[in-house]
Symmetry: C2
Subunit: 331 residues, 2 copies
């Protein structure tokens, strides 16, 4: 049996382009002892995919010639691991390929539910990142002002919606007037700031007349700096990602005000990745399911059909095309 | 009765110079209801004094024409506050003046002990800053690598000595080979890095072969950046001060790697000021007293005689002249 896969043809020097990937036909491997063969159903697109190409992060770098890495939801076709049998659903780093052979211990079993895409969005890494990052790291309380960047993105929109549930005044930072309108009109954010419109500092100040208590940072760079200077005493910054620096040369300098503002305002600035909190995954999923079923969280997905569209889907994501969770439906 | 005082003659544009201060003779005020008249005994010199001239921080800015602010130890001469009577010792922001009238509620009563200077060093803000900042914010455990900057300074040397008591491998960053030798030979630090010698990044790496678990930051700037890139997973940065930026124009940019390194390494970067922990001051003082009496902490002081030397003492401190806690003996 052969299948399609994308390999990284070359490491992008600047902004990612589609020709950094090469489509190949290859024989699908057989699972060895402890391994599982899966058919990919949905591949998740994440800004972090771009960071993986640049070097080691919390995982090893994706090397040229290797299959492009990526989270995905798959269905078990054959299993030589006792925890999985054909027909099971599982998620993990299946990569950009139609079939994948993965050690069973690197897979997370998923409970079948409809629509399946939710297992990669609100009930996947995305939703859990928003949930744990906001509750455990940001620790907002009712009445506080919460600012979230990349607010129309996969994690950001969920962070904002959870913030609203907790009684925060939620302000989103996003690119372009349409996304900003969508955040206020459709998702009910108190305000939205268009970082592409210029005068970011003033716009953010106008949107946060009481200052910022919690900043959930997905982007780093200028937005981080603007937020930093407007944090309130004992404010918290949850560092989730730094997408502003992923798709270009590393920034020559970091945000001004570090560490001065951190001292003066006694801020807590903390990085996290969602796996740090996986011991409490079941509890978090139950809460997210309740909020979704009560209509308190709108699940926002951007599903693109066709395996071949993966490179374009990632390039577009890095240009901010998507609202909510972007993924490619493979089959 | 007249007394001497220094007023801020002008706000320094760049590095502080002695002519930014003006010595005046002025009548000493009488205490009103709730106030206390004190005779100043020792004035504390702190890098933060310089930051106060530049604008509001955790306190209002020192304004030109006003008495220069500064922590000091004084003896009560007259009191219209029920908690104080003549002969009592108290510390607070008495400013650079021989006599000060201060609201009683802004003073901290001190227990008379010998030498009195210890009430401004190890048992004062300095020692408590080191104690709480390291234990509560840095949270080191035995066997971890602790890096402290401005390590020969008032707070830094105590941080390092407490780190040793806790079983950490302590590495100090200081300016010049003499201070570095002193840190290793006299205070028993495992290693010391001279930030003035160039190749800071490499020297720090060589001094920390296991990476850095806790970085106690007094300086910000280049040393912060060098430490940031060498932090271990789940490392902690205690942000105590940013002296590298106090005595010059604000830096054009912050450290690279913010927030990227914070995310990837899941760091916690937290600012504090010692007053945040004052509820547990008595307990901290008891611990510090025990360590001093057991010979586990050497109290390092740099006492300058003569009220008139205050401006020179502060300028010199900002140039890194001092080892340990610098203060001026007034009377």
């Amino acid at each position: 049996m052969t299948h399609r896969r994308f390999v990284l043809a070359r490491v992008p020097a600047g902004a990612l382009t589609e020709d950094c990937f090469r489509l190949e036909e290859a024989p699908a491997a057989e699972p060895k002892e402890g391994e599982v063969l899966l058919r990919s159903l949905y591949v998740s697109l994440d800004a972090a995919n771009r960071a993986w190409m640049q070097g080691a992060t919390y995982r090893a770098a994706v090397e040229p010639g290797g299959v492009m890495a990526g989270g995905a939801l798959g269905e078990v076709v054959a299993s030589r691991h006792p925890a999985f049998e054909p027909g099971d659903l599982a998620s993990g780093d299946l990569g950009w390929q139609e079939y994948a052979v993965i050690p069973g211990k690197a897979l997370m079993k998923e409970t079948r539910s409809e629509p399946l895409s939710h297992l990669l969005s609100i009930y996947g890494i995305t939703g859990l990142t928003a949930y744990f990052g906001l509750l455990e790291v940001g620790q907002p309380t009712a009445g506080e002002t919460l600012v979230v960047s990349a607010a129309a993105g996969a994690v950001g929109n969920v962070v904002g919606q959870i913030g609203k549930i907790l009684g925060c005044r939620v302000v989103g930072v996003a690119g372009g007037p349409e996304k900003c309108r969508w955040l206020t009109d459709e998702l009910g954010f108190a305000a939205a700031v268009d970082y592409k419109a210029g005068s970011l500092f003033k716009s953010l100040r106008a949107a946060c007349p009481q200052g910022i208590d919690v900043y959930f940072d997905n982007v780093g760079g200028d937005v981080f700096e603007a937020a930093l200077f407007q944090m309130n005493l004992r404010g918290r910054i949850a560092c989730c990602g730094a997408v502003s620096g992923y798709d270009s040369a590393p920034p020559a300098h970091g945000p001004r005000g570090v560490p001065g503002m951190i001292v003066v305002k006694r801020l807590s600035v903390r990085g996290f990745i969602v796996m740090d909190f996986f011991a409490r995954r079941a509890q978090a999923l139950a809460q997210l399911q309740a909020w979704v079923s009560e209509g308190k969280i709108k699940v926002v997905e951007d599903v693109i059909d066709g395996f071949a569209k993966l490179p374009a889907a990632l390039v577009g994501l890095l240009h901010g095309e998507n609202r909510g969770k972007r993924m490619v439906r493979v089959a």
